[in-house]
Amino acid sequence: MSERLTKVDFSNLGKILFPKRGITKAQVIEYYIKLAPRMLEIMSDRPIVLTRYPDGVEQKGFYEKDAPQGLPSWVQTVKIYSETAKRDVNYVIVNDLDTLVWLANLAAIEIHMPLSCVEAREKPDLVLFDIDPEPPATFEEGITVALLLKEKLDQLGLKSYVKTSGKKGLHIVVPIQRNYPYYTTREFAHLIGKHLAKETELVVSEFADTKKPNKVFVDYTQNSHGRTMVVPYGLRATPEATVSTPLEWMEVKKGLKSEELNLFSVVKRKKDPWKGIFENRQKLEVK
């Protein structure tokens, strides 16, 4: 090859990864290349975990914390002791385009990141509210709750950002200063959830109630060490190749369809609603 644009050696580009939509690995790689500038801004410096689907999303994927075998020397990793595995786990850090492309070439369709960076692992810089509707409640009820939550955060003077989960829920995050341990952010998210539950029949705030039908759980438990959320613009292993898509708040309204935000449509979106999110790190003060 005369010019060397990437260190990655592509393999099996024609392999179908999303059979229902006939999406090949080449298309997945192309998607991640195109979204890379927006993704890297947020996922950099975070030890990520993967679910790989080498035989496509209709076959069972495998969850991988450890950096995959055959790790090229230029891929950055960080060793972190895992309490569940009782050993040091070698996590991949995605700070450049090559690493993201390399992951895509490994059919790492789902990429999840923690809410804190490597340099301050116990001090998250995001508070996550994971809005999770329990059927028959749907994405539409999720939207209702997301908007109520935003209102609540607005009242507290906190700027929040929203994305679809790529499945049936929504993720709302508040960028914060790295001054608070996870138990504080968790308590904070829980408190907001409790307020919402008190005001709105639709919302439940307690883990024990998550399976109550037709309720929407405002999940605060993800604000914990070792927990992760799917990266913004991350693909989901769904038949429709849905994307966890960052949205403008004005887009979050009745009629928004989660499944319409997929590999094909998201790549055309020019907006970057989460741009500069970390230039707006806020203090957590509940008055």
Binding site: L5, L13, A26, L40
Partner: protein, 281 residues
């Protein structure tokens, strides 16, 4: 019968000496499901256990060292046939085929029900190893207690479980036995997939040997009797090839040039664009 004796001999073979080269450590399960014995369910994961570590070589073009690829060529017009135009044919008579498309064949394949169904407990040594096909390591899947219980119970009773499993799209008879403090699942061949030597006429005409000859043969066997140690056996060819590879690595190596395929071209264009964007930042 000398069953206990047999068991003792077999245990002795399993020395803790690491064979060289080292056996691989399986990294991830190839199947998850559960072992069901009546109403009892033990969730398990299946890890590969048997590795065929023959060398695989690639065919290259002698003049420029580039890899070769295969094409499917029509025997009539010599033209290359794309995969979309390929179907499967079953030869019923010479050059007469019944045609199947992929859908027809797929519809008949059994689905894995994610279970190892245990029918009964048997004596492991009552099965002729001729029927053993491949072995897998069973690991507990958040079922350590039940797994441990079954393992110890099998060890104590010296029994194995017999049942069936569907792997990929094929159902196999299978047995589960205790080995080196783990449960091992071994798929078996069907009885009708193993030839019966009694069907061969020649073997029916063997003569009774003379007594003196037989005595001599038995003496030789006795003199050469010993214990079997699998680690004494090595693939000499493999070792020689490995050595040669090391030598060649020090010297000249053929570097493979990657041709840019049509689909990779689009990726290159996307890469170029993104790299520009990232540079601007």
């Amino acid at each position: 019968m000398g069953k206990n004796l047999k068991t003792a001999t077999i245990v002795k073979q399993e020395t803790n000496q690491e064979p060289s080269p080292k056996a691989p450590v399986p990294k991830r399960p190839i199947w998850t499901g559960s072992l069901t014995i009546g109403l009892i369910n033990v969730p398990v994961k299946l890890y590969p256990m048997i590795y065929d570590r023959a060398f695989s070589f690639h065919f290259l073009h002698k003049t420029d060292g580039q890899p070769l690829r295969y094409e499917r060529v029509c025997t009539k017009d010599g033209k290359i046939v794309p995969w979309e135009e390929v179907v499967k044919g079953y030869e019923v008579a010479k050059k007469e085929f019944i045609i199947f498309d992929k859908k027809e064949l797929d519809a008949m394949k059994p689905e894995s029900d994610k279970r190892v169904r245990i029918d009964k407990f048997i004596d492991y040594f009552s099965i002729d190893p001729i029927y053993f096909q491949s072995s897998y390591i069973l690991m507990p899947d958040k079922s350590n207690d039940a797994y441990g219980l079954l393992l110890i119970a099998l060890q104590k009773k010296g029994k194995a479980c017999a049942g069936r499993i569907t792997l990929r799209t094929k159902e196999y008879p299978a047995i589960v036995h205790a080995y080196k403090d783990a449960l091992i699942l071994t798929t078996l061949r069907y009885s009708y997939d193993v030839a019966d030597p009694r069907a061969l006429e020649e073997l029916k005409q063997l003569k009774e040997p003379a007594k003196a000859e037989l005595d001599l043969a038995i003496k030789i066997i006795t003199d050469l009797s010993g214990e079997f140690d699998i680690t004494e056996y090595k693939d000499n060819y493999r070792e020689k090839v490995e050595e040669l590879i090391k030598k060649k690595l020090k010297g000249e190596k053929i570097v493979v040039e990657q041709p840019v395929k049509e689909e990779a071209k689009e990726l290159m264009a996307a890469l170029r664009e993104t790299l520009q964007q990232l540079e601007k930042k």
